[in-house]
């Protein structure tokens, strides 16, 4: 991150003060044996995601630049860690994720996923993705949806069936497994999409606002799930607007504003609450201008 430190005057590393991690994550998830790895991902672990000076400028039909969504972003996500990409609306979180997944081509810079270009089939084989909105095929049932994505991930049929059953039970949808997802509520659809992201046994899970549309209980369950998956060795990249949750589940976070990194570091080294820190970093984000409205 040294280069960024020089490039961006606003760039901050978190204050280096250790904070005790809650010790009971792994026990809650029934995975005591991996407990000792919880003290933060080992530094020697290879990088699963590596972005170097990545830029993305959206252009219109005549190729004139319209939006500079990502501006010289460098980051690396290590194997086995939960990395949070935070930032106000429109700061470029989803765009970054889509470039990492090979859905968008960067205008500049270099991206590698498991040491390969993002569109390599070997990289995609190890990937699970939950998009911002669930984007399900409305005519498929929940079970068929998972079966479809299991097929796309080349899972053998018997294994796909078993895993579909397990995952539907996990997201609490076993009793509606045979209903078309077109009729599902937003939160139910979100659960199906989350299960679909996990069906291919990914090594890297990319979650774009995983808890959007979920009730508080489901949100808590998603947090538990993320912790359990991490304890099982999965690497997770997530975005979220719920900063308290992000603070709870992430090992490291990066705060984006206007497509550039304004702060990055280990959550365990953060002295204050992530929310206060976030607001201090991005309080220039004037999304709402309430004063005239309230006065009028």
């Amino acid at each position: 991150m040294e280069t960024l430190e020089h490039a961006d005057p606003n760039y901050t590393k978190f204050p280096a003060r250790r904070r005790a991690l809650r010790p009971d994550f792994a026990i809650m998830c029934g995975m005591e044996k991996t407990k000792q790895t919880l003290g933060g991902a080992p530094h020697a672990a290879p990088n699963v995601i590596e972005l170097t000076d990545v830029r993305k400028t959206f252009r219109d039909f005549w190729l004139r630049p319209t939006v500079k969504a990502v501006d010289g972003l460098s980051l690396s996500v290590r194997k086995g860690e939960v990395f949070g990409l935070l930032g106000p609306n429109g700061s470029g979180k989803s765009t970054t994720i889509k470039m990492i997944l090979g859905l968008l081509s960067p205008s500049g810079g270099k991206i590698s996923l498991f040491g390969r270009p993002p569109r390599a089939a070997e990289a995609r084989r190890r990937l699970g993705y939950l998009p911002e909105l669930s984007y399900l095929h409305p005519f498929l049932t929940a079970q068929e949806t998972l079966g479809y994505y299991a097929g796309l991930s080349d899972l053998p049929r018997a294994e796909a069936k078993a895993r579909t059953r397990e995952l539907l039970a996990m997201v609490g949808l076993s009793d509606v497994a045979k209903r078309p997802v077109g009729g599902f509520s937003k939160g139910m659809a979100r659960r199906v999409a989350l299960a679909a992201a996990l069906i291919g046994k990914p090594d890297l899970l990319v979650l774009d606002e995983p808890t959007s549309g979920l009730d508080p209980i489901s949100t808590k369950e998603v947090k538990l799930l993320v912790k359990a998956l991490r304890a099982g060795g999965m690497t997770i990249l997530t975005t979220s607007h719920l900063l308290a949750d992000a603070q709870e589940i992430c090992d490291r976070v990066m705060i984006l504003n206007h497509g550039a990194c304004v702060a990055e570091g280990k959550v365990s080294e953060l002295g204050t609450s992530l929310e206060d820190f976030f607001l201090a970093k991005v309080d220039d984000a004037k999304d709402f201008t309430l004063a005239p409205f309230l006065a009028g």
Binding site: F58, L104, S105, R124, L127, Y129, Y135, F139, L152, S153
Partner: protein, 409 residues
């Protein structure tokens, strides 16, 4: 393979659950079943049969072309617009497999609907009626003949300078058209001879005279030791049962005036092949292959254009493909005078050249006339339309798809 089958399954479910497949099936059944009572032929049994076969299946095929083209074009474009495609593209499934999976699903639906229509037709026509190979006389190719005529033109000192300086390709095209329609004359008491690949069971011919009026034709057909007297009128196409004994056929004009005929159009030998049922099967296979091509084209357009634009382009392509051969055929080269005409014709000729393999693949006319849909041509058409073209179009679509991704996510 599993990923490919998943895509096929998804697309089939989409077609079935959107009721598109059901609607197509109902429309096809209704049209095929009701056709004989809707349309009456020329009063003859043979005429009614020909009309029935040609247009009941033709109607279903036209419906399938339009509906499947629209569906295939929309399929990928809609998934992209509704952003569902991104969930597929992050999986380890190739884009070619994705497009081909969708092609297969659409072709399966088309094949099933067409099979049902064929079944309904088969229930009311005689499946044992024999079909016949149609043999044309063995002649030099049209191109060879055009080249020969060109050489004669150039050797002739009276040939105008305009012809000499015109581009060779243009003159050759003109001469090729003449070669197809070139007339030969059989004077009174003269004999015209043709060679065929094999002897036949019948001869089909049409004689004319210089004045384009009806006139008696009188003469003798001979093939080996077999001979038969023919008498009828000019202008009419005549199917004359005549079992030849050699591959040679001759006609001696015993009439009072000279007769004219075009060797490439007006004389054929027919040779009994297999039953209508087999011919129907071959025609069916060709039609399904053409559907595969149409669907692949739709998917290619859907991969690289937005849905409304892709649909518009798809249907313009269909219309141009349907019409360009007849435009090219009917447009006399003499009218090619100004630049606009020349450009327009060049485009139409290009379209005709590209779509000729498909527009030439019209097995229904042959099927209706009980002419054999030749196995060799079936193999060629299946190879081109069901295998090669979808593969090439899918490769192209897969190459163009990522370029559109900035719009899709």
């Amino acid at each position: 393979m599993r990923a490919f089958l998943s895509v096929v399954g998804l697309e089939l479910k989409a077609l079935v659950r959107s009721k598109a497949a059901l609607l197509l099936l109902v429309a096809a059944v209704a049209w095929t079943a009701a056709f004989p009572s809707l349309v009456t032929g020329d009063g003859t049994v043979a005429g009614a049969r020909e009309l029935d076969i040609h247009f009941s299946l033709g109607g279903v095929f036209a419906l399938l072309v339009v509906a499947l083209l629209a569906s295939a074009t929309g399929s990928l474009a809609r998934e992209r617009a509704e952003k569902r495609l991104q969930l597929t593209l992050v999986r380890p499934v190739g884009r070619v497999a994705l497009i081909l999976g969708k092609v297969v699903a659409h072709v399966v639906v088309g094949a099933v609907v067409l099979a049902v229509a064929c079944d309904i037709l088969a229930a009311r026509v005689d499946l044992a009626t024999p079909c016949r190979h149609v043999l044309a006389p063995i002649l030099p190719s049209v191109q060879e003949e055009a080249e020969r005529m060109y050489a004669v033109y150039l050797a002739d000192t009276n040939t105008p300078a305009a012809v000499r300086h015109a581009p060779k390709a243009t003159v050759l095209r003109l001469l090729a058209n003449r070669a197809i329609d070139r007339y030969e004359t059989v004077a009174t008491n003269a004999v015209a001879r043709w060679r065929f690949a094999a002897p036949g069971d019948a001869v089909r011919f049409r004689f004319t005279n210089t004045f384009e009026m009806r006139q008696d034709v009188c003469g003798v057909l001979r093939s080996g030791a077999a001979a038969s007297v023919v008498s009828n009128t000019t202008q009419a196409v005549v199917l004359f049962p005549f079992r030849g004994e050699s591959a040679e056929l001759s006609f001696e004009n015993r009439g009072t005036s000279a007769l004219m005929f075009r060797p490439r159009r007006d004389i054929q030998v027919l040779r009994t092949a297999d039953a209508f049922a087999w011919n129907l099967l071959r025609a069916y296979v060709v039609l399904v292959a053409v559907l595969a091509l149409v669907v692949s084209l739709g998917l290619l357009l859907g991969a690289c254009l937005s849905r409304p634009v892709a649909l518009f382009v798809a249907f313009v392509t269909l219309v141009v493909g349907e019409m360009s051969p007849s435009v090219v055929e009917q447009y006399p080269d003499e009218l090619e005078t100004n630049l606009a005409d020349r450009v327009g014709l060049a485009i139409t000729r290009g379209a005709a050249a590209v779509t000729r393999p498909v527009s030439a693949a019209s097995p229904l006319e042959a099927l209706a006339k009980d002419e054999c849909v030749e196995p060799a041509s079936v193999a060629g058409l299946v190879c081109a339309n069901l295998v090669v073209a979808p593969l090439l179009l899918a490769l192209l679509g897969a190459a163009l798809l990522p370029r559109k991704q900035d719009d899709l996510v």
